[in-house]
């Protein structure tokens, strides 16, 4: 078995990114879409930590902290908006939100 290299982490990250993207693109439920975005951010985190480890540099890890913070903040705002939406439209489905078009 080959030793695990940074490339492995990057590949894992890419796979996770793709899964996140698939989630964003396919799931009707906005909550799951949001979760999928978390997956994407996680992919980024994996990348950053892998680089940080490889480079023996701590900045990457700091970066991760900020990414997590941002993820939290985004989630909070997005969920707030979702609640407002749900209150007005009684739906959490992405494809039922389409009065703005064309």
């Amino acid at each position: 078995m080959y030793p695990v290299t940074t490339a492995h982490y990057m590949l894992l990250s890419a796979i996770l990114l793709t899964i996140g993207a698939v989630g964003v693109l396919t799931r009707r439920n906005i909550l799951v879409v949001l979760m999928s975005i978390e997956l994407i951010l996680n992919a980024v985190n994996i990348n950053l930590v892998a680089f940080s480890h490889y480079l023996q540099d701590v900045s990457g890890q700091v970066f991760v902290i900020f990414v997590i913070t941002v993820a939290a903040a985004e989630t909070a705002v997005a969920l707030g908006i979702l609640i407002a939406l749900f209150r007005n439209k009684e739906t959490v489905h992405a494809d039922e939100v389409d009065i703005l078009r064309w």
């Binding site: 982490y9 890419a14 890890q61 997590i68």
Partner: protein
């Protein structure tokens, strides 16, 4: 070294598996749970790479904070009806194909680049960091020196998130519907 590899693959499988399960579960609660699993896997990977502090943050903030936030909101949504509806958008297969293609392309680039993977110069750890041993200390040191501004701004960011969440989720109709009326 071997253990590292084994653990990596284990965590990788956990992450990928949980992620896939997450995006395919009909029940949103299950999805949230699989998200937690994926995040735990990631935390494991962090540990594997000597980023203990991050692993902690991951568990506390992500799993303890964000996922709970999700679960709160999930509670607001009527799950029964949800269970009866289509899970996937109409563009599902196209999306999957496109995403897979994207993955293939990214992988192609990654494989091509794998040889030349001398990421950075792999500089020896800076002297000042070398004196400090723990990961947390290193992170803390960086956070409060070079990343002081982002750190401060992150607080504003969180403030914005709080304001945003409150502004958005609070129902209208109360006499003063701004935050100031929260004390009512």
């Amino acid at each position: 070294m071997l253990l590292d590899s084994v653990l990596f693959y284990l965590f990788a499988i956990l992450i990928v598996g949980s992620s896939i399960l997450m995006i395919t579960r009909r029940n949103v609660v299950y999805a949230a749970v699989w998200l937690i699993n994926a995040l735990i896997g990631t935390a494991g990977l962090f540990l594997l790479q000597a980023a203990e502090f991050l692993a902690g943050v991951q568990v506390i903030v992500y799993i303890g904070g964000i996922t709970v936030l999700y679960l709160f909101v999930i509670m607001l949504v009527p799950l029964r009806e949800e269970m009866l509806q289509r899970r996937f958008a109409s563009q599902g297969w196209i999306a999957v194909i496109c995403s897979t293609l994207m993955l293939v392309l990214v992988s192609v680039f990654l494989f091509r680049g794998a040889d030349s993977f001398h990421l950075g110069q792999a500089a020896p750890p800076p002297a000042e960091l070398g004196q400090m041993t723990t990961n947390s200390e290193q992170v803390g040191q960086a956070l409060f020196s070079r990343y002081l501004l982002p750190f401060e701004m992150a607080s504003i960011l969180l403030l914005v998130a709080i304001i945003g969440a409150i502004v958005m989720s609070k129902a209208r109709g109360a006499p003063g519907s701004s935050i100031s009326s929260m004390d009512n």
